[in-house]
Protein backbone atom coordinates (compact mmCIF):
# COMPACT_ATOMS: atom_id res chain seq x y z
CA UNK A 1 0.00 0.00 0.00
CA UNK A 2 1.41 3.39 -0.95
CA UNK A 3 2.09 5.97 1.72
CA UNK A 4 -0.60 8.13 0.19
CA UNK A 5 -3.36 5.59 0.68
CA UNK A 6 -2.05 4.54 4.07
CA UNK A 7 -2.24 8.17 5.09
CA UNK A 8 -5.84 8.49 3.89
CA UNK A 9 -6.77 5.27 5.66
CA UNK A 10 -5.23 6.51 8.90
CA UNK A 11 -7.15 9.79 8.55
CA UNK A 12 -10.40 7.89 8.10
CA UNK A 13 -9.74 5.80 11.21
CA UNK A 14 -9.00 8.85 13.33
CA UNK A 15 -11.97 10.79 11.99
CA UNK A 16 -14.17 7.74 12.59
CA UNK A 17 -13.31 7.87 16.29
CA UNK A 18 -13.90 11.62 16.43
CA UNK A 19 -17.25 11.14 14.69
CA UNK A 20 -18.18 8.31 17.09
CA UNK A 21 -17.43 10.59 20.02
CA UNK A 22 -20.00 13.07 18.66
CA UNK A 23 -22.41 10.25 17.79
CA UNK A 24 -22.41 8.99 21.38
CA UNK A 25 -23.41 12.31 22.86
CA UNK A 26 -25.82 12.98 19.99
CA UNK A 27 -27.64 9.76 20.92
CA UNK A 28 -28.86 11.55 24.05
CA UNK A 29 -29.98 14.50 21.92
CA UNK A 30 -27.12 16.81 22.85
CA UNK A 31 -24.82 18.43 20.31
CA UNK A 32 -21.19 19.01 21.23
CA UNK A 33 -19.12 21.41 19.14
CA UNK A 34 -16.08 21.02 21.35
CA UNK A 35 -15.01 17.41 21.01
CA UNK A 36 -11.73 18.40 19.32
CA UNK A 37 -10.76 19.70 22.77
CA UNK A 38 -10.95 16.19 24.20
CA UNK A 39 -9.06 14.95 21.17
CA UNK A 40 -6.37 17.55 21.95
CA UNK A 41 -6.25 16.53 25.58
CA UNK A 42 -5.85 12.91 24.49
CA UNK A 43 -3.14 13.84 21.99
CA UNK A 44 -1.07 15.83 24.48
CA UNK A 45 -1.56 13.38 27.32
CA UNK A 46 -0.59 10.27 25.36
CA UNK A 47 2.38 12.13 23.83
CA UNK A 48 3.56 13.14 27.27
CA UNK A 49 3.14 9.57 28.51
CA UNK A 50 5.04 7.91 25.66
CA UNK A 51 7.77 10.54 25.25
CA UNK A 52 8.40 11.67 28.83
CA UNK A 53 7.04 8.89 31.01
CA UNK A 54 8.08 5.92 28.91
CA UNK A 55 4.62 4.38 28.51
CA UNK A 56 3.75 1.91 25.79
CA UNK A 57 1.37 3.49 23.29
CA UNK A 58 -1.53 1.17 24.24
CA UNK A 59 -1.22 1.93 27.94
CA UNK A 60 -0.87 5.63 27.19
CA UNK A 61 -4.07 5.59 25.12
CA UNK A 62 -5.99 3.83 27.87
CA UNK A 63 -4.70 6.22 30.53
CA UNK A 64 -5.56 9.24 28.39
CA UNK A 65 -9.03 7.86 27.66
CA UNK A 66 -9.67 7.38 31.37
CA UNK A 67 -8.41 10.86 32.23
CA UNK A 68 -10.36 12.54 29.43
CA UNK A 69 -13.44 10.52 30.38
CA UNK A 70 -13.24 11.75 33.95
CA UNK A 71 -12.67 15.31 32.78
CA UNK A 72 -15.57 14.98 30.35
CA UNK A 73 -17.88 13.89 33.14
CA UNK A 74 -16.60 16.78 35.28
CA UNK A 75 -17.23 19.31 32.51
CA UNK A 76 -20.46 17.61 31.52
CA UNK A 77 -22.01 17.89 34.95
CA UNK A 78 -22.51 21.67 34.83
CA UNK A 79 -22.60 21.92 31.01
CA UNK A 80 -25.45 19.45 30.60
CA UNK A 81 -27.79 21.73 32.51
CA UNK A 82 -27.81 23.51 29.19
CA UNK A 83 -29.65 22.14 26.19
CA UNK A 84 -29.64 22.40 22.43
CA UNK A 85 -28.02 25.50 21.03
CA UNK A 86 -26.88 26.72 24.47
CA UNK A 87 -24.99 23.50 25.13
CA UNK A 88 -23.49 23.72 21.63
CA UNK A 89 -22.22 27.22 22.45
CA UNK A 90 -20.84 26.12 25.82
CA UNK A 91 -18.94 23.20 24.28
CA UNK A 92 -17.61 25.52 21.59
CA UNK A 93 -16.33 27.82 24.32
CA UNK A 94 -14.76 24.88 26.11
CA UNK A 95 -13.01 23.87 22.88
CA UNK A 96 -11.49 27.28 22.40
CA UNK A 97 -10.46 27.37 26.05
CA UNK A 98 -8.56 24.09 25.76
CA UNK A 99 -6.93 25.11 22.48
CA UNK A 100 -5.62 28.35 23.95
CA UNK A 101 -4.48 26.48 27.05
CA UNK A 102 -2.17 24.33 24.93
CA UNK A 103 -1.10 27.42 23.00
CA UNK A 104 0.26 28.83 26.26
CA UNK A 105 1.37 25.56 27.80
CA UNK A 106 5.11 25.93 27.27
CA UNK A 107 5.97 22.70 29.09
CA UNK A 108 4.72 20.89 25.98
CA UNK A 109 5.93 23.30 23.34
CA UNK A 110 3.15 25.89 23.42
CA UNK A 111 2.53 27.38 19.98
CA UNK A 112 5.63 25.58 18.67
CA UNK A 113 4.00 22.19 19.06
CA UNK A 114 5.33 18.92 20.46
CA UNK A 115 7.13 16.04 18.80
CA UNK A 116 9.21 12.96 19.45
CA UNK A 117 6.38 10.42 19.59
CA UNK A 118 6.97 6.92 18.19
CA UNK A 119 5.18 6.48 14.86
CA UNK A 120 2.22 4.12 14.55
CA UNK A 121 0.85 2.50 11.41
CA UNK A 122 -2.57 2.79 9.82
CA UNK A 123 -3.18 -0.83 10.80
CA UNK A 124 -2.62 0.02 14.47
CA UNK A 125 -5.02 2.93 14.19
CA UNK A 126 -7.63 0.68 12.64
CA UNK A 127 -7.28 -1.90 15.38
CA UNK A 128 -8.46 0.76 17.82
CA UNK A 129 -11.00 2.36 15.49
CA UNK A 130 -12.63 -0.95 14.57
CA UNK A 131 -12.57 -2.12 18.19
CA UNK A 132 -14.30 1.01 19.43
CA UNK A 133 -16.81 0.97 16.56
CA UNK A 134 -17.72 -2.60 17.52
CA UNK A 135 -17.95 -1.64 21.17
CA UNK A 136 -20.39 1.15 20.32
CA UNK A 137 -22.41 -1.20 18.12
CA UNK A 138 -22.71 -3.68 20.99
CA UNK A 139 -23.64 -0.86 23.36
CA UNK A 140 -26.37 0.19 20.96
CA UNK A 141 -28.25 -2.97 21.82
CA UNK A 142 -27.93 -2.44 25.55
CA UNK A 143 -30.29 -1.08 28.12
CA UNK A 144 -28.19 2.03 28.69
CA UNK A 145 -28.42 2.97 25.01
CA UNK A 146 -32.20 2.60 25.14
CA UNK A 147 -32.16 4.96 28.10
CA UNK A 148 -30.06 7.43 26.11
CA UNK A 149 -32.55 7.28 23.26
CA UNK A 150 -35.39 7.89 25.70
CA UNK A 151 -33.64 11.06 26.83
CA UNK A 152 -33.12 12.01 23.19
CA UNK A 153 -36.83 11.62 22.47
CA UNK A 154 -38.32 13.19 25.59
CA UNK A 155 -36.18 14.03 28.56
CA UNK A 156 -39.06 14.92 30.88
CA UNK A 157 -40.81 11.61 30.29
CA UNK A 158 -37.52 9.71 30.56
CA UNK A 159 -37.08 11.18 34.04
CA UNK A 160 -40.68 10.31 34.91
CA UNK A 161 -40.24 6.65 33.95
CA UNK A 162 -37.44 6.46 36.49
CA UNK A 163 -34.30 7.28 34.53
CA UNK A 164 -31.66 9.39 36.20
CA UNK A 165 -31.27 11.59 33.17
CA UNK A 166 -28.45 13.69 34.62
CA UNK A 167 -26.29 10.66 35.42
CA UNK A 168 -26.93 9.10 32.01
CA UNK A 169 -26.08 12.29 30.11
CA UNK A 170 -22.94 12.89 32.17
CA UNK A 171 -21.88 9.28 31.61
CA UNK A 172 -22.43 9.61 27.85
CA UNK A 173 -20.44 12.83 27.83
CA UNK A 174 -17.57 11.15 29.67
CA UNK A 175 -17.57 8.19 27.30
CA UNK A 176 -17.68 10.56 24.35
CA UNK A 177 -14.66 12.43 25.73
CA UNK A 178 -12.75 9.17 26.22
CA UNK A 179 -13.32 8.12 22.60
CA UNK A 180 -12.23 11.56 21.36
CA UNK A 181 -9.08 11.27 23.49
CA UNK A 182 -8.19 7.95 21.83
CA UNK A 183 -8.62 9.65 18.44
CA UNK A 184 -6.22 12.35 19.65
CA UNK A 185 -3.61 9.89 20.90
CA UNK A 186 -3.68 8.01 17.59
CA UNK A 187 -3.47 11.27 15.65
CA UNK A 188 -0.44 12.41 17.66
CA UNK A 189 1.42 9.14 17.14
CA UNK A 190 0.57 8.91 13.49
CA UNK A 191 1.66 12.43 12.60
CA UNK A 192 4.43 12.37 15.27
CA UNK A 193 3.96 16.11 15.64
CA UNK A 194 1.09 18.03 17.24
CA UNK A 195 0.28 21.69 17.71
CA UNK A 196 -2.74 23.38 19.28
CA UNK A 197 -4.14 24.34 15.86
CA UNK A 198 -4.73 20.64 15.14
CA UNK A 199 -7.51 20.62 17.70
CA UNK A 200 -9.50 23.72 16.84
CA UNK A 201 -13.09 24.42 15.96
CA UNK A 202 -12.81 23.07 12.39
CA UNK A 203 -11.88 19.65 13.75
CA UNK A 204 -14.96 19.59 15.98
CA UNK A 205 -17.08 20.55 12.99
CA UNK A 206 -15.54 17.72 10.95
CA UNK A 207 -16.67 15.25 13.61
CA UNK A 208 -20.21 16.59 13.51
CA UNK A 209 -20.26 16.65 9.70
CA UNK A 210 -19.12 13.05 9.45
CA UNK A 211 -21.97 11.94 11.72
CA UNK A 212 -24.62 14.04 9.99
CA UNK A 213 -23.46 12.95 6.54
CA UNK A 214 -23.03 9.26 7.28
CA UNK A 215 -26.09 8.82 9.46
CA UNK A 216 -26.75 10.07 12.96
CA UNK A 217 -28.93 7.17 14.11
CA UNK A 218 -26.62 4.16 13.62
CA UNK A 219 -22.96 3.81 14.57
CA UNK A 220 -21.75 2.62 11.13
CA UNK A 221 -22.99 5.98 9.84
CA UNK A 222 -19.93 7.53 11.46
CA UNK A 223 -17.75 5.16 9.43
CA UNK A 224 -19.39 6.05 6.12
CA UNK A 225 -19.32 9.74 7.00
CA UNK A 226 -15.65 9.66 7.98
CA UNK A 227 -14.70 7.83 4.78
CA UNK A 228 -16.64 10.28 2.61
CA UNK A 229 -15.26 13.29 4.42
CA UNK A 230 -11.68 12.13 3.81
CA UNK A 231 -12.06 10.61 0.36
CA UNK A 232 -14.46 13.00 -1.37
CA UNK A 233 -12.33 16.16 -1.19
CA UNK A 234 -9.43 14.03 -2.48
CA UNK A 235 -11.35 12.45 -5.33
CA UNK A 236 -12.70 15.84 -6.35
CA UNK A 237 -9.17 17.06 -6.97
CA UNK A 238 -9.75 17.09 -10.74
CA UNK A 239 -11.85 20.21 -10.35
CA UNK A 240 -8.92 21.80 -8.57
CA UNK A 241 -9.83 25.01 -6.74
CA UNK A 242 -13.53 24.31 -6.87
CA UNK A 243 -13.35 21.05 -4.96
CA UNK A 244 -14.32 22.41 -1.57
CA UNK A 245 -17.27 24.28 -3.08
CA UNK A 246 -18.33 21.09 -4.87
CA UNK A 247 -17.99 19.16 -1.64
CA UNK A 248 -20.18 21.72 0.13
CA UNK A 249 -22.84 21.44 -2.56
CA UNK A 250 -22.76 17.65 -2.29
CA UNK A 251 -23.22 17.88 1.45
CA UNK A 252 -26.26 20.13 1.08
CA UNK A 253 -27.70 17.77 -1.51
CA UNK A 254 -27.36 14.79 0.82
CA UNK A 255 -29.03 16.67 3.67
CA UNK A 256 -31.92 17.71 1.43
CA UNK A 257 -32.54 14.19 0.19
CA UNK A 258 -31.71 12.18 3.34
CA UNK A 259 -31.80 14.23 6.47
CA UNK A 260 -31.04 11.25 8.70
CA UNK A 261 -27.77 10.76 6.80
CA UNK A 262 -26.80 8.04 4.35
CA UNK A 263 -27.26 5.11 6.73
CA UNK A 264 -30.22 4.55 9.02
CA UNK A 265 -31.89 1.76 10.93
CA UNK A 266 -34.38 1.00 8.15
CA UNK A 267 -31.50 0.10 5.85
CA UNK A 268 -30.33 -2.56 8.30
CA UNK A 269 -33.80 -3.98 8.76
CA UNK A 270 -34.08 -4.96 5.10
CA UNK A 271 -34.80 -8.69 4.86
CA UNK A 272 -31.48 -9.63 3.21
CA UNK A 273 -29.58 -8.22 6.16
CA UNK A 274 -31.72 -9.92 8.71
CA UNK A 275 -29.50 -12.40 10.49
CA UNK A 276 -29.43 -12.90 14.22
CA UNK A 277 -31.51 -9.75 14.75
CA UNK A 278 -34.24 -9.94 17.41
Amino acid sequence: MSTYYAGLLADVGILLLGALSVYIILATGQLSLGNAAFMGIGAYLTSYLTVQAGFQIGAALLAAAAAAGALGALVGFPALRLKGIYLAMATLGFGEMVRSFFLNFDAMGGAGGFHGMPHISAAYIWTWAAGILLLVMVLERSRIWLEMRAIHDDETVAELVGLNTTAIKVGAFGFSAAVAAVAGGLFAHHHVYIEPANFGFERSIDFVLAVILGGSTVAPGALVGAALLVVLPESLRFIADWRLAAFGALLIAVLLVRRQGLLDGALFRRPWLRGSAS
Binding site: R143, E147, V157, A158, L160, G162
Partner: protein, 254 residues
Protein backbone atom coordinates in the same frame (compact mmCIF):
# COMPACT_ATOMS: atom_id res chain seq x y z
CA UNK B 1 -63.82 10.09 56.29
CA UNK B 2 -61.53 7.25 57.20
CA UNK B 3 -60.04 6.50 60.55
CA UNK B 4 -56.35 7.47 60.92
CA UNK B 5 -55.36 3.83 61.27
CA UNK B 6 -56.55 2.92 57.76
CA UNK B 7 -53.70 2.18 55.38
CA UNK B 8 -52.75 5.02 53.07
CA UNK B 9 -50.52 4.73 50.02
CA UNK B 10 -50.41 8.38 49.04
CA UNK B 11 -51.11 11.24 51.40
CA UNK B 12 -51.13 14.91 50.51
CA UNK B 13 -50.94 17.30 53.44
CA UNK B 14 -51.86 20.93 52.80
CA UNK B 15 -50.15 20.96 49.41
CA UNK B 16 -50.01 24.37 47.75
CA UNK B 17 -48.53 25.50 44.48
CA UNK B 18 -48.69 28.81 42.71
CA UNK B 19 -47.24 30.17 39.51
CA UNK B 20 -46.31 33.85 39.54
CA UNK B 21 -49.09 34.84 41.93
CA UNK B 22 -51.71 32.54 40.40
CA UNK B 23 -52.73 29.89 42.88
CA UNK B 24 -53.00 26.52 41.18
CA UNK B 25 -53.37 24.42 44.32
CA UNK B 26 -54.37 25.69 47.74
CA UNK B 27 -53.98 23.47 50.77
CA UNK B 28 -54.86 20.18 49.13
CA UNK B 29 -55.21 17.31 51.59
CA UNK B 30 -56.18 13.85 50.50
CA UNK B 31 -55.51 10.19 51.25
CA UNK B 32 -55.35 7.50 48.62
CA UNK B 33 -55.76 4.04 50.14
CA UNK B 34 -54.05 1.08 48.49
CA UNK B 35 -55.89 -1.08 45.98
CA UNK B 36 -58.52 1.48 45.03
CA UNK B 37 -59.37 3.45 41.95
CA UNK B 38 -59.73 7.07 42.96
CA UNK B 39 -60.96 9.77 40.62
CA UNK B 40 -59.93 13.41 40.59
CA UNK B 41 -62.55 15.48 38.84
CA UNK B 42 -63.22 19.15 38.34
CA UNK B 43 -63.58 21.77 35.63
CA UNK B 44 -60.74 22.66 33.27
CA UNK B 45 -58.05 24.67 35.00
CA UNK B 46 -59.02 23.33 38.44
CA UNK B 47 -55.43 22.21 39.07
CA UNK B 48 -55.76 18.47 38.48
CA UNK B 49 -52.76 18.09 36.19
CA UNK B 50 -50.72 20.41 38.42
CA UNK B 51 -51.49 18.05 41.26
CA UNK B 52 -50.13 15.11 39.21
CA UNK B 53 -47.01 17.12 38.47
CA UNK B 54 -46.50 17.80 42.18
CA UNK B 55 -46.99 14.12 43.08
CA UNK B 56 -44.50 12.94 40.43
CA UNK B 57 -41.94 15.61 41.32
CA UNK B 58 -42.13 17.45 37.99
CA UNK B 59 -43.13 20.47 40.12
CA UNK B 60 -42.03 21.08 43.68
CA UNK B 61 -44.86 22.03 46.06
CA UNK B 62 -44.47 25.53 47.56
CA UNK B 63 -45.96 24.31 50.76
CA UNK B 64 -47.19 21.11 52.35
CA UNK B 65 -46.06 17.51 52.15
CA UNK B 66 -46.44 14.58 49.83
CA UNK B 67 -46.05 11.21 51.49
CA UNK B 68 -45.91 8.03 49.45
CA UNK B 69 -45.60 4.52 50.81
CA UNK B 70 -44.04 5.74 54.04
CA UNK B 71 -41.60 8.23 52.45
CA UNK B 72 -41.75 12.01 52.45
CA UNK B 73 -41.23 12.50 48.72
CA UNK B 74 -42.00 16.21 48.51
CA UNK B 75 -38.51 17.22 47.44
CA UNK B 76 -37.45 14.05 45.64
CA UNK B 77 -36.35 14.14 42.01
CA UNK B 78 -38.88 12.71 39.53
CA UNK B 79 -36.80 9.62 38.71
CA UNK B 80 -36.50 8.73 42.37
CA UNK B 81 -40.25 9.08 42.88
CA UNK B 82 -40.81 6.92 39.81
CA UNK B 83 -38.49 4.24 41.21
CA UNK B 84 -40.31 4.37 44.52
CA UNK B 85 -43.38 3.18 42.62
CA UNK B 86 -45.27 6.06 41.00
CA UNK B 87 -45.98 5.82 37.27
CA UNK B 88 -48.08 8.10 35.11
CA UNK B 89 -49.57 8.72 31.70
CA UNK B 90 -50.12 12.09 30.05
CA UNK B 91 -53.12 14.05 28.90
CA UNK B 92 -51.48 14.55 25.51
CA UNK B 93 -49.86 11.17 24.84
CA UNK B 94 -46.10 11.34 25.26
CA UNK B 95 -44.37 8.37 23.70
CA UNK B 96 -40.71 8.16 22.70
CA UNK B 97 -40.70 9.18 19.05
CA UNK B 98 -37.94 6.84 17.89
CA UNK B 99 -38.97 3.70 19.76
CA UNK B 100 -40.99 0.62 18.99
CA UNK B 101 -43.69 -0.61 21.37
CA UNK B 102 -41.32 -3.29 22.62
CA UNK B 103 -38.58 -0.77 23.39
CA UNK B 104 -41.03 1.31 25.43
CA UNK B 105 -41.65 -1.74 27.56
CA UNK B 106 -37.96 -2.41 28.13
CA UNK B 107 -36.82 1.10 28.93
CA UNK B 108 -39.37 1.78 31.63
CA UNK B 109 -38.58 -1.30 33.70
CA UNK B 110 -37.22 -0.79 37.15
CA UNK B 111 -33.69 -0.48 37.04
CA UNK B 112 -31.49 -2.88 38.76
CA UNK B 113 -28.35 -0.94 39.33
CA UNK B 114 -26.01 -3.65 38.01
CA UNK B 115 -23.90 -1.57 35.66
CA UNK B 116 -22.59 -4.45 33.57
CA UNK B 117 -26.09 -5.68 32.85
CA UNK B 118 -27.03 -2.24 31.60
CA UNK B 119 -24.07 -2.14 29.23
CA UNK B 120 -24.58 -5.52 27.56
CA UNK B 121 -27.19 -6.31 24.91
CA UNK B 122 -30.49 -6.73 26.72
CA UNK B 123 -31.35 -10.11 25.26
CA UNK B 124 -28.25 -11.70 26.77
CA UNK B 125 -27.94 -9.74 29.93
CA UNK B 126 -31.49 -9.32 31.07
CA UNK B 127 -33.83 -12.14 30.10
CA UNK B 128 -36.12 -11.30 33.01
CA UNK B 129 -36.70 -7.86 31.52
CA UNK B 130 -37.70 -9.51 28.27
CA UNK B 131 -40.05 -11.85 30.10
CA UNK B 132 -41.62 -8.92 31.92
CA UNK B 133 -42.06 -6.93 28.70
CA UNK B 134 -43.66 -9.97 27.07
CA UNK B 135 -46.05 -10.37 29.96
CA UNK B 136 -47.18 -6.74 29.76
CA UNK B 137 -47.39 -6.92 25.97
CA UNK B 138 -49.85 -9.77 26.30
CA UNK B 139 -51.80 -8.16 29.14
CA UNK B 140 -52.42 -5.07 27.00
CA UNK B 141 -53.03 -7.05 23.81
CA UNK B 142 -50.19 -5.38 21.97
CA UNK B 143 -48.47 -8.50 20.56
CA UNK B 144 -49.41 -7.66 16.97
CA UNK B 145 -47.73 -4.25 17.11
CA UNK B 146 -44.68 -5.30 19.14
CA UNK B 147 -42.09 -4.03 16.67
CA UNK B 148 -43.99 -1.10 15.23
CA UNK B 149 -42.82 2.43 15.97
CA UNK B 150 -45.24 3.43 18.73
CA UNK B 151 -45.96 6.85 17.27
CA UNK B 152 -47.36 5.38 14.05
CA UNK B 153 -50.15 3.46 15.82
CA UNK B 154 -53.80 4.51 16.06
CA UNK B 155 -54.68 6.89 18.85
CA UNK B 156 -56.38 4.36 21.12
CA UNK B 157 -53.46 1.94 20.74
CA UNK B 158 -50.98 4.69 21.60
CA UNK B 159 -52.91 5.27 24.81
CA UNK B 160 -52.59 1.58 25.61
CA UNK B 161 -48.86 1.66 24.89
CA UNK B 162 -48.48 4.59 27.24
CA UNK B 163 -50.34 2.73 29.94
CA UNK B 164 -48.32 -0.42 29.28
CA UNK B 165 -45.09 1.57 29.60
CA UNK B 166 -46.27 2.81 32.98
CA UNK B 167 -47.23 -0.70 34.09
CA UNK B 168 -43.96 -2.40 33.12
CA UNK B 169 -42.32 -0.25 35.76
CA UNK B 170 -44.33 -2.34 38.28
CA UNK B 171 -45.63 0.74 40.09
CA UNK B 172 -47.63 0.78 43.31
CA UNK B 173 -49.52 3.86 42.21
CA UNK B 174 -50.62 4.63 38.67
CA UNK B 175 -51.62 8.17 37.77
CA UNK B 176 -53.75 8.46 34.64
CA UNK B 177 -54.37 11.84 33.09
CA UNK B 178 -57.58 11.58 31.04
CA UNK B 179 -57.14 7.92 30.01
CA UNK B 180 -60.24 7.84 27.79
CA UNK B 181 -60.09 11.35 26.32
CA UNK B 182 -60.95 11.17 22.64
CA UNK B 183 -62.07 7.55 22.81
CA UNK B 184 -65.45 6.19 21.76
CA UNK B 185 -67.69 4.29 24.18
CA UNK B 186 -66.39 0.92 23.09
CA UNK B 187 -62.74 1.87 23.56
CA UNK B 188 -63.53 3.48 26.90
CA UNK B 189 -65.17 0.25 28.00
CA UNK B 190 -62.01 -1.67 27.11
CA UNK B 191 -59.96 0.71 29.22
CA UNK B 192 -62.40 0.33 32.09
CA UNK B 193 -62.08 -3.46 31.96
CA UNK B 194 -58.31 -3.14 31.84
CA UNK B 195 -58.20 -0.86 34.88
CA UNK B 196 -60.45 -3.19 36.84
CA UNK B 197 -58.08 -6.06 36.08
CA UNK B 198 -55.15 -3.94 37.25
CA UNK B 199 -56.96 -3.12 40.46
CA UNK B 200 -57.67 -6.80 40.98
CA UNK B 201 -53.89 -7.30 40.78
CA UNK B 202 -53.51 -4.89 43.69
CA UNK B 203 -52.61 -1.71 41.83
CA UNK B 204 -53.76 1.65 43.17
CA UNK B 205 -54.99 4.08 40.54
CA UNK B 206 -55.57 7.81 40.70
CA UNK B 207 -57.14 9.22 37.58
CA UNK B 208 -58.20 12.52 36.12
CA UNK B 209 -61.13 12.26 33.73
CA UNK B 210 -63.88 14.43 32.31
CA UNK B 211 -66.04 11.57 31.07
CA UNK B 212 -68.50 11.40 33.99
CA UNK B 213 -70.13 8.14 33.00
CA UNK B 214 -66.70 6.53 32.93
CA UNK B 215 -65.69 8.00 36.29
CA UNK B 216 -68.93 7.16 38.04
CA UNK B 217 -68.89 3.55 36.78
CA UNK B 218 -65.28 2.91 37.67
CA UNK B 219 -64.05 4.84 40.69
CA UNK B 220 -64.33 3.73 44.28
CA UNK B 221 -63.88 7.23 45.59
CA UNK B 222 -63.82 10.74 44.15
CA UNK B 223 -62.19 14.04 44.92
CA UNK B 224 -63.58 17.19 43.36
CA UNK B 225 -61.20 20.03 42.67
CA UNK B 226 -62.26 23.56 41.73
CA UNK B 227 -59.91 26.55 41.39
CA UNK B 228 -57.18 24.70 43.24
CA UNK B 229 -59.35 23.81 46.22
CA UNK B 230 -60.90 20.47 47.12
CA UNK B 231 -64.60 21.16 47.35
CA UNK B 232 -65.91 17.65 47.90
CA UNK B 233 -64.96 14.03 48.33
CA UNK B 234 -66.81 10.77 48.69
CA UNK B 235 -68.22 7.78 46.91
CA UNK B 236 -69.53 8.44 43.38
CA UNK B 237 -73.13 8.19 44.57
CA UNK B 238 -72.52 10.91 47.17
CA UNK B 239 -70.68 13.15 44.74
CA UNK B 240 -73.46 12.88 42.21
CA UNK B 241 -75.84 14.57 44.61
CA UNK B 242 -73.44 16.95 46.36
CA UNK B 243 -74.80 20.49 45.93
CA UNK B 244 -71.35 22.13 45.88
CA UNK B 245 -70.27 19.79 43.12
CA UNK B 246 -73.42 20.31 41.12
CA UNK B 247 -72.85 24.03 41.32
CA UNK B 248 -69.19 23.93 40.41
CA UNK B 249 -69.14 21.28 37.81
CA UNK B 250 -71.81 18.76 37.10
CA UNK B 251 -74.56 21.37 37.03
CA UNK B 252 -72.98 22.95 34.01
CA UNK B 253 -72.93 19.67 32.12
CA UNK B 254 -76.66 19.38 31.61
Amino acid sequence: MRAPSDPVLLRLEAVSKSFGGITALAGIACDIPPGRIVGMIGPNGAGKTTLFNVITGAYRADDGDVRFDGHAITSWKPHRIARAGVARTFQNIRLFAGMTVWEHLLVSQPHREAMLRRLLPTHWADPTAHARADEVLTFFGLEAVRDRPARTLPYGTQRRVEMARAITASPKLLLLDEPVAGMNAEEAEEVRALLLRLRANGLTILLIEHDMTFVMNLCDYLYVLDFGVLIAEGAPSQIRSDPAVLDAYLGKED
